[in-house]
């Protein structure tokens, strides 16, 4: 015989569930507040001050932000970060989509190649930076050596000392290293597509290209959104490769916003200005994430209507 649970039992169960949820989320919430939220407020305060890290902290209002607006190096780093984002969206996203679809459609060896693609992502950025510094060394490196040997002398440039090439070299390396990371994310999305949908599309005569654009792409949009957000926010905090290979130089030619922030805070010992730059990065990451979410949401809305 079935009997309805008494109301008091429901509320007690709900309370127990709430306690359980709290018990599980509270530790991470406390850590998140301690190590993310509190430092953000700390940085907000510091960004309104002039401080070298020692001695008295001087409150200067929004002077650091005004300084950023008139700082040539900040705008070059800002532009470089935007170029890095654009290059990521054009090349890294396209290549990650291509490779993940290739792996998805070519089942034999998929696991092996997935690991191969992912491998560079787990290597330290410092090691990658040092390795590519040697490869691109115009005087000792194998790239220019090969170019000279095959008669392409005019192509043998001082890659890391040339203002025009250095940004693209550093960007190329970052793009190369993390393609596999996005391949894994996008591939996970593809693997979640029910097999029957793919089979029926093939029975209906869809070729590989049609299958991708009409079936796969619409069904992996959520994963793409995640991937793009990681790409863009990763570009905004890009630091290691640029710092290891060129220290952001020559000058600030290969400096990104995070390199600029680090140099202000540590090399120039201007913690206030560095904090202001850090908050600009945070704000940009927030704005970019909102825009990406809006674009994907907007497209979804359009497709529904």
């Amino acid at each position: 015989m079935k009997t309805a649970l008494p109301a008091i039992g429901k509320s007690s169960r709900k309370r127990r569930e709430t306690v359980l949820v709290m018990a599980f989320t509270l530790p991470s919430l406390v850590l998140f507040v301690m190590f993310m939220i509190v430092p953000i407020f700390g940085a907000m305060y510091l960004s309104l001050t002039k401080w070298s890290g020692a001695g008295a902290i001087k409150f200067i209002g929004i002077d650091n932000y005004t300084n950023l607006l008139h700082n040539r190096d900040f705008w070059i780093s800002f532009k470089n970060s935007l170029i890095l984002i654009a290059l990521h969206l054009i090349f890294q996203l396209t290549l990650a989509l291509f490779f993940s679809y290739l792996l998805y459609r070519t089942r034999p060896g998929m696991r092996f190649f997935r690991s191969v693609f992912f491998l560079p992502s787990v290597i330290s950025a410092t090691a990658i930076g040092v390795m590519f510094s040697l490869l691109f060394n115009a005087d000792l490196g194998p790239i220019n050596y090969t170019l000279h040997k095959i008669g392409l002398d005019s192509w043998a440039l001082p890659w890391l000392s040339n203002k025009t090439t250095v940004l693209f070299v550093v960007s190329f390396i970052i793009i190369w290293q993390f393609i596999g990371y996005h391949v894994v994310i996008i591939l996970a999305g593809m693997k979640a597509i029910p097999e029957e949908i793919i089979e029926s599309a093939i029975i209906d005569g869809a070729n590989t290209v049609v299958l991708f654009f009409r079936v796969v792409y619409p069904l992996i949009k959520d994963m793409l959104q995640v991937s793009i957000i990681f790409m863009v926010t990763g570009c905004l905090k890009a630091f290691d490769h640029s710092y290891v290979m060129t220290m952001g130089g020559p000058g600030v030619s290969s400096s990104f916003l995070a390199v600029f922030m680090y140099k202000q805070a540590y090399s120039r010992q201007k913690l206030g200005l560095g904090s202001a730059a850090g908050l600009v990065i945070l704000l940009l990451a927030f704005i970019c994430t909102r825009i990406i979410n809006w674009i994907f949401y907007h497209k979804d809305e359009e497709s529904v209507t």
Binding site: W51, S52, G53, A54, G55, S133, F136, N137, A138, D139, L140, G141, P158, W159, L160, S161, N162, K163, V166, M245, T246, M247, G249, P250, G251, V252, S253, K263, A265, Y266, S267, R268, Q269, K270, L271
Partner: protein, 435 residues
């Protein structure tokens, strides 16, 4: 009733254990030995450094019954980042191996975080100002005072690859114009006239200062920077013009960023790819015998009357800094004095000289000459009677300006900034940081 008894027992037990714990804690505190934190950059990166690190560890172990030394080791310029972070979090180590000029330690000095060496000497029975070679103090004088006990004393020299001279059948150039004259021949043979790069200012700023020092009056200009806050002098412009001419004549590596910093530029020479280069004695001792080479004078700037046979470029800009707050802590002071006395002792300086080519800073340092690398010995004796030049690193009065000086120099030496742009960049930095 029995519940009440149990409760009483329970409370009694808790109180008893609290009392015991407190008593034990207090007794431990009474016997507690001080702990001092020592930040430095000595890592076992070579056989020689391994000996130095072992000697340091042995001493720390030997005094463990009197005080504990916690080592905080960060190699290279990253030590600056560590100290900046420690400083901002009011967690400065008690003793720091650090760069002592205003360009690096200026903020700590301005914030009154360090003791002067004289305060230390007052507390020390073993060391006094006279214990150290007098010539060393110039590079670490800030506002007329010394805060750094000099221990990192390096001698440098220029070197020439004589195998390349023999192969090309050319006389050794002794001036920059002579080098420019044979630059094409050297390049065509696949060699680089001067192995020099500049990333983060290193080692390019040392080279630029070796040119600047040859102009009459440059020493006074450098010593005056903290007063004049001016870098735009005729001598400095002429210096940059020499650098620019050399770059135009392909006397430098094509890629001065990739070949910048301490390892890569030197690899060009040690790999036999360059005719000239410059390094510290320890580096020169490691060249090996894959090709013939010899020590030589720095190249002369043709338009000057400088006597390069009497010039050297020593460095003693780093040493031990002592945290004022820690030194004023009675519980720590004796430990700090003892450890610093040992670190500056003849015994430890002999170990660093023999194993890493760091020249003793003490007037009287006993070491077994036969154990010192003969090349290091030769560099030291060669420079012993020469006049040591002063550098921008020792005289630029502010960390921000020094960072901008180095940053701009990377760009200038790479050829992506003109002389005017570079001077304007550094001068702007000097003016905006002048307070």
């Amino acid at each position: 009733m029995s519940k009440k008894v149990n409760m009483k027992k329970c409370v009694g037990g808790v109180v008893l254990s609290l009392v015991m714990t407190t008593a034990m804690g207090m007794s431990a505190m009474a016997d507690e030995i001080p702990t001092i934190r020592f930040a430095h950059q000595d890592t076992a990166s070579s056989e020689g450094m391994q000996v130095i690190v072992d000697t340091l560890d042995d001493y720390i172990a030997s005094v463990a019954d009197k005080y504990i030394v916690e080592q905080e080791v960060v190699a290279g310029d990253d030590l600056k980042t560590k100290i900046a972070t420690d400083m901002a979090s009011d967690n400065l180590p008690d003793i720091m191996w650090y760069w002592g000029a205003a360009s690096d330690a200026g903020n700590m000095i301005d914030a009154d975080l360090l003791i002067t060496v004289d305060e230390f000497f007052e507390a020390s029975e073993k060391l006094s100002r006279d214990s150290f070679k007098e010539s060393l103090w110039d590079q670490i004088t800030v506002n007329g005072k010394n805060y750094c006990l000099p221990v990192d004393n390096l001698e440098s020299n220029w070197v020439v690859n004589t195998s390349i001279l023999d192969e090309l059948g050319i006389e050794m150039p002794t001036t920059y114009n002579e080098l420019i004259a044979v630059s094409d021949q050297i390049n065509e043979a696949g060699y680089i006239p001067i192995a020099m790069g500049c990333k983060g200012g290193n080692p390019g700023h040392w080279w630029v200062d070796s040119i600047y020092a040859q102009y009459e009056g440059s020493r006074d200009e450098l010593l005056d920077i903290s007063e004049s806050w001016n870098i735009d002098t005729e001598n400095f412009r002429k210096t940059l013009q020499v650098v620019s001419d050399l770059r135009e004549a392909n006397c430098l590596p094509q890629d001065t960023i990739a070949n910048g910093d301490w390892g890569p530029y030197w690899a060009l020479f040690t790999e036999g790819k360059a005719l000239f280069s410059w390094s510290w004695a320890g580096g020169i001792a490691g060249i090996g015998d894959n090709f013939d080479w010899e020590l030589c004078d720095m190249l002369k700037v043709d338009e000057t009357d400088a006597d390069v046979s009497n010039m050297s470029e020593p460095y003693c800009g780093a040493g031990l800094l002592i945290n004022k707050k820690s030194f004023n802590d009675e519980a720590k002071r004796a430990a700090i004095v003892d450890f610093v006395e040992w670190y500056c002792s003849s015994e430890f300086q002999a170990v660093t000289f023999i194993n890493d080519g760091v020249v003793p800073t003490l007037v009287d340092c006993d070491y077994d000459e036969s154990q010192v690398d003969p090349i290091v010995q030769e560099v030291v004796s060669r420079n012993s009677t020469r006049e040591g030049l002063i550098t921008h690193m020792a005289t630029i009065p502010n960390a921000s300006v020094w960072a901008d000086y180095q940053n701009g120099l990377d760009e200038f030496i790479a050829g992506t900034m003109t002389i005017d742009e570079y001077i304007e960049y550094v001068q702007d930095s000097l003016e905006s940081n002048r307070e």
